[in-house]
């Protein structure tokens, strides 16, 4: 398989510019980076540094103005809207700051949602897979709860279960702990670490050093350019399994 040898993400000289009225805004100015399978990368930077734009491009929600983006060896640039949607469904998992669960919908139904759009018939029993994913994030007891019956940390766990249920090549998390208190933040980051230990490749956008400390590598953006790309020396680890977390 070609994809297994190639890096999960390979970006060359990526630029993204917006037109705000008559003014051209360069959100990304020539970003190049490569992420291999099994990495856990933090994307750092102040607001306006371009990290969200990078995330949208990497998540195939947005297209670069110039430059090349290979996702698992596949050039994303020339693909049309439907093909991008299929890639999001097949190869990517998203975790958002605001959880983005469907209201009035149970945890199992929320987690099963991406499988609804699967076009390859990969998932024989979506409900069973959703239940397994929820058990994996430690929510085996809350299967039929709706988002408003769950705490913030639990909602984010549902969102993570939804992101991993299709076994994506890459899990993209955009400020996943932004809405959570510090204790829950640690729990969620521990869950990410556990998933990473199981082989899930992660890219986490954050502006908090404490969150980045859980990752293996930190990329720092400033004004749309990479200004730092370093491995994390003293990685934080929490001695607890995700299944045991409340």
């Amino acid at each position: 398989m070609v994809g297994s040898a190639a890096p999960v993400v390979e970006v060359k000289n990526l630029t993204r510019e917006y037109l705000l009225g008559a003014e051209r805004v360069l959100a990304l100015r020539g970003v190049s980076l490569s992420v291999s399978a099994g990495e856990m990368v933090a994307i750092m930077g102040a607001s306006g540094s371009g990290k969200s734009t990078l995330m949208n491009v990497l998540g195939c929600l947005d297209r670069p103005s110039a430059g090349e983006y290979l996702l698992g060896g596949v050039a994303v640039g020339p693909l049309d809207d439907d093909a991008l949607a299929d890639i999001r469904g097949e190869r990517l998992g998203f975790v958002f700051q605001g959880f983005n669960l469907l209201p009035r919908t149970t945890a199992v139904e929320n987690v099963a949602l991406p499988m609804l759009y699967d076009r390859q018939g990969r998932f024989a029993d979506p409900t069973a897979r959703a239940i397994a994913a929820l058990q994996r994030v430690g929510l085996g007891e809350r299967l039929n709860h709706q988002p408003n019956e769950l705490s913030g940390g639990q909602q984010q766990r549902v969102a993570i279960a939804r992101a991993i249920v299709t076994e994506p090549r890459l899990l993209l998390a955009d400020e996943p702990t932004g809405n959570l208190d510090s204790r829950t933040t640690v729990e969620i980051m521990a869950l990410f670490q556990a998933l990473n230990d199981d082989g899930v490749t992660l890219m986490i956008v954050t502006h908090e050093d404490e969150v980045a400390a859980f990752c293996k590598r930190a990329i720092t953006l400033k004004d749309g350019q990479i200004v730092g790309d370093v491995p994390i020396q003293q990685r934080r680890a929490v001695v607890s399994t995700p299944g045991a977390a409340p």
Binding site: L61, D81, D82, A85, R88, L102, Y117, D118
Partner: protein, 405 residues
């Protein structure tokens, strides 16, 4: 996404917002119910009118004498005394498409009765005349074969003549005098009312044609031969058969025109039917407006719903939904809303039509095709009015949609 998943999703969304869904469906519900009730009233009226036309004898064929032309001057309708009893006998024997034939020997005289005199038309007819014209007796009996053979001096009175001559008394068994001939009244006909032209059909005395021809003096002629085709589709065949037989019998060569005329009642029936059809169309058109308003209601709610659920759309797009998936989701939801409204409306309409029938005594007819059509049309309304909101939902940019608060 397959059709089943789409349908399940749509039903889930409809069920999760019961109040909103019912309010949305209400417009279509009322529209469909109105259409069904209006069409039921229209079709009921049509049925009633058709029944009355059948009363005139729908399968009836009327053969009248032709127009005589003397030295270039037309004698007007029925001026040629070309029809005979023998013509009628021959038609009865040879015309296969006619189930009944009756000559009508016409004359006019004063009916002298117990209390009053009344001038009326006297028709000499065959027993089958009653069947052809679908005319029953109210009391007594109709003329039979024995009366014809025996040239019996009997008659059946039309309702008008009966009341004019005998008032409230029962005429059956009494005598009337026609041109000084005493004739026994053996029956009274049911009232048939006026023709479209205003002629009183009940102002008539029916007697055996043999009696009228032989016993009553005075000017008389065979004004008509009436025939009855076995069914309305046989009318054309019956007409050409009659023409063939009569032309041969009258010894007409190819170049000579018919010396008689053959007509049927379809023209009249068509006119009346088309009138009620116009009425039905008009009623259902008015009712359709409410269905249209219902559709606009659905569009309105769906547009609001798209704005409300922008974030949901963004989530679905991020998780792999194509634009087409989102389009289908909202379209199917609109269709489910309007189709469900249509179904409930159909129930209300059928009940309402029955209720209107009970309350007003009108004949209301609900046909299955009306119900099916109304429900399908309402689902169509969902497609038409769901299209714009669904397009708007599908056109949203995923990033903007995800950011939407």
């Amino acid at each position: 996404m397959n059709a089943r998943a789409l349908l399940r999703l749509a039903i889930q969304n409809v069920v999760r917002n019961p109040t909103r869904s019912i309010l949305t469906m209400l417009g279509v519900m009322i529209g469909v119910a109105a259409v069904i009730i209006m069409v039921a009233i229209g079709q009921g009226a049509q049925g009633a009118i058709e029944e009355r036309i059948k009363n005139l004898g729908t399968n009836m064929i009327v053969i009248t004498p032709g127009v005589a032309t003397t030295a270039g001057v037309s004698g007007g309708a029925q001026s040629m005394p070309s029809l005979t009893i023998e013509d009628a006998d021959l038609l009865r024997k040879d015309a296969q498409s006619l189930v009944a034939v009756s000559p009508v020997v016409m004359t006019r005289t004063t009916v002298v009765g117990g209390q009053a005199n009344w001038r009326a038309s006297i028709y000499g007819v065959d027993p089958s005349y009653a069947e052809i014209r679908d005319w029953q007796v109210a009391s007594g009996r109709f003329i039979d074969e024995l009366d014809i053979k025996g040239r019996k001096k009997v008659c059946v009175l039309g309702a008008t003549v009966a009341s004019r001559v005998f008032g409230e008394d029962d005429p059956v068994g009494q005598l009337v005098r026609l041109r000084d001939v005493p004739i026994e009244v053996i029956g009274v006909l049911k009232a048939k009312g006026q023709t479209a032209e205003g002629a009183d059909q009940d102002d008539v005395v029916l007697a055996p044609y043999s009696t009228v021809q032989t016993r009553l003096a005075g000017r008389q002629f065979i004004g008509q031969i009436l025939g009855s085709a076995s069914s309305p589709d046989q009318l054309d065949l019956a007409q050409s058969e009659v023409k063939l037989i009569l032309r041969e019998r009258h010894g007409l060569s190819e170049s000579q025109p018919d010396d008689f005329e053959v007509r049927d009642q379809r023209q009249l029936a068509e006119t009346a039917t088309s009138t009620t059809q116009v009425m039905t169309t008009l009623l259902s058109a008015i009712a359709s407006v409410s269905l249209l308003v219902g559709g606009i209601g659905i569009m309105n709610i769906m547009l609001v719903s798209v704005t409300e659920r922008t974030r949901e759309i963004g989530i679905r797009r991020a998780l792999g939904a194509r634009r087409g998936d989102v389009l289908a989701q909202f379209l199917v939801e609109a269709m489910v809303l309007s189709g469900l409204g249509g179904l409930i409306g159909a129930g209300v309409g059928v009940g309402g039509a029955w209720g209107v029938g009970r309350l007003t005594g009108w004949a209301t007819t609900v046909t299955p095709s009306t119900v099916v059509l109304a429900v399908l049309f309402s689902a169509g309304v969902g497609v038409v009015f769901g299209w714009t909101p669904a397009r708007r939902a599908a056109g949203l940019d995923p990033i903007d949609a995800l950011r939407h608060q």
